[in-house]
Symmetry: C2
Subunit: 231 residues, 2 copies
């Protein structure tokens, strides 16, 4: 029997013990092979997890386009932990190619419980949670970005679903300005900032209300959620 | 200052200690007021969490359409834990009306980390995780259901996103049969069954391959994920 590919969520900034259930931490402690987005942060995370061996004795390989070495390891009956930078691997993050290859080879993939910024933001937003779409990043070019925002509003109204998207932190306020410019007054916009951290702030307001707030997000990691007014 | 509304994910069938980080369990232990989907399962969950008081001394109110009593409690500086049946409140589950009212009143909503079947399934599916949509339940009527499946295929191709949906467990195999009938051979379909449980099975195959598998899901809780072939 082949090894298991564990998809391991990592903290959004806090500690490993605060982000994962004890059972998940225990599973990670049994692993010796890791496929990771970034070796340095992976080592820091594994140190926090309290691996029962020295970190330098672990086999930590950075994820590359060619995933065949990892598949070979799994077929040689070694289990592998898949780690991305913050949150869930393969969701708005690298890792899907390895999971896809494992699925194709009939290798078991086991996801561990941990933080997903998309789910945390949606749960606390008060926006439509029976239907929602995650759209990743919006276009960088200002006019295209505004066009996309209007498309998301139209889709939210048509499908009655919340639209969720993210931005590179240093561009948060550029995106926020575009949202205030392009969206309708009554569209609801939630900003979910610094999730799971001491300064966490999750606030849902109409675009009209945000416009008068003079709010600035700064470079704090933020999830954006938008819902058109149907009523 | 008002109390805090904690959005608390609950286990998908396993134990509370296996589903939530220690920090989340500790937060829950400080609460005395709960707004819940089902009082009986909420009491069982809180017993597992190890509340520092007798369960009968807790104030456990079932969620109703009118959330004003909960908002009043929050304004009286009492924090409340919001619990749904399995997984995350307000996501494919009740609770959004209370969260929405809290957001409108400027009350802080804090989401705790725990299991989301949608995220666990997507992470392990190997399907597109940079863009995805959760669509809830598909229509019950056979022809409408098939029409919807073809719409989801078209949308998956057009938006290059994974489509995620669920079904009442006793109707799993009816939905599965419709999927095999209505979808294209090369469409990828993932069945994520019994997530986080000992019999967990997460398998992604082409519709053509599922057709020859004679697989039956049975009444085990399952998340369905679909991705059209683009290539």
């Amino acid at each position: 029997m082949a090894g298991i590919l564990y998809a391991i969520p990592t903290p959004l900034g806090g500690s490993a013990a605060d982000a994962l259930p004890v059972s998940a931490l225990n599973t990670i402690r049994t692993l010796r092979y890791f496929a990771v987005e970034n070796a340095k942060t992976a080592r820091a995370f594994l140190k926090e997890v309290g691996m029962p061996c020295a970190i330098q004795d672990l086999d930590i390989a950075v994820l590359e386009t060619d995933v065949s070495q990892h598949i070979r390891k799994l077929q040689e009956k070694h289990s592998i932990g898949l780690l991305s930078e913050a949150g869930c691997p393969a969701i708005a993050d690298p890792g899907a190619a390895l999971v896809e290859a494992a699925q194709r080879e009939g290798i078991r993939v086991a996801p561990l419980v941990g933080p997903s910024s998309i789910v945390l933001a949606l749960m606390a937003s008060g926006l439509e949670g029976q239907r929602f779409a995650f759209c990743g990043y919006l276009p960088r070019e200002a006019d295209e970005r505004k066009k996309k925002i209007r498309e998301l509003e139209a889709r939210s109204r048509r499908e009655r679903e919340t639209q969720i998207f993210i931005e590179t932190p240093y561009r948060n306020d550029v995106l926020f300005a575009s949202l205030l410019e392009a969206s309708s007054d009554r569209t609801l916009l939630c900003l979910a900032t610094d999730l799971t951290l001491p300064d966490e702030k999750i606030e849902t307001r109409s675009v009209a209300s945000w416009r008068t707030s003079r709010h600035a997000i700064g470079k704090r990691p933020t999830v954006f959620l938008l819902q058109s007014a149907n009523r």
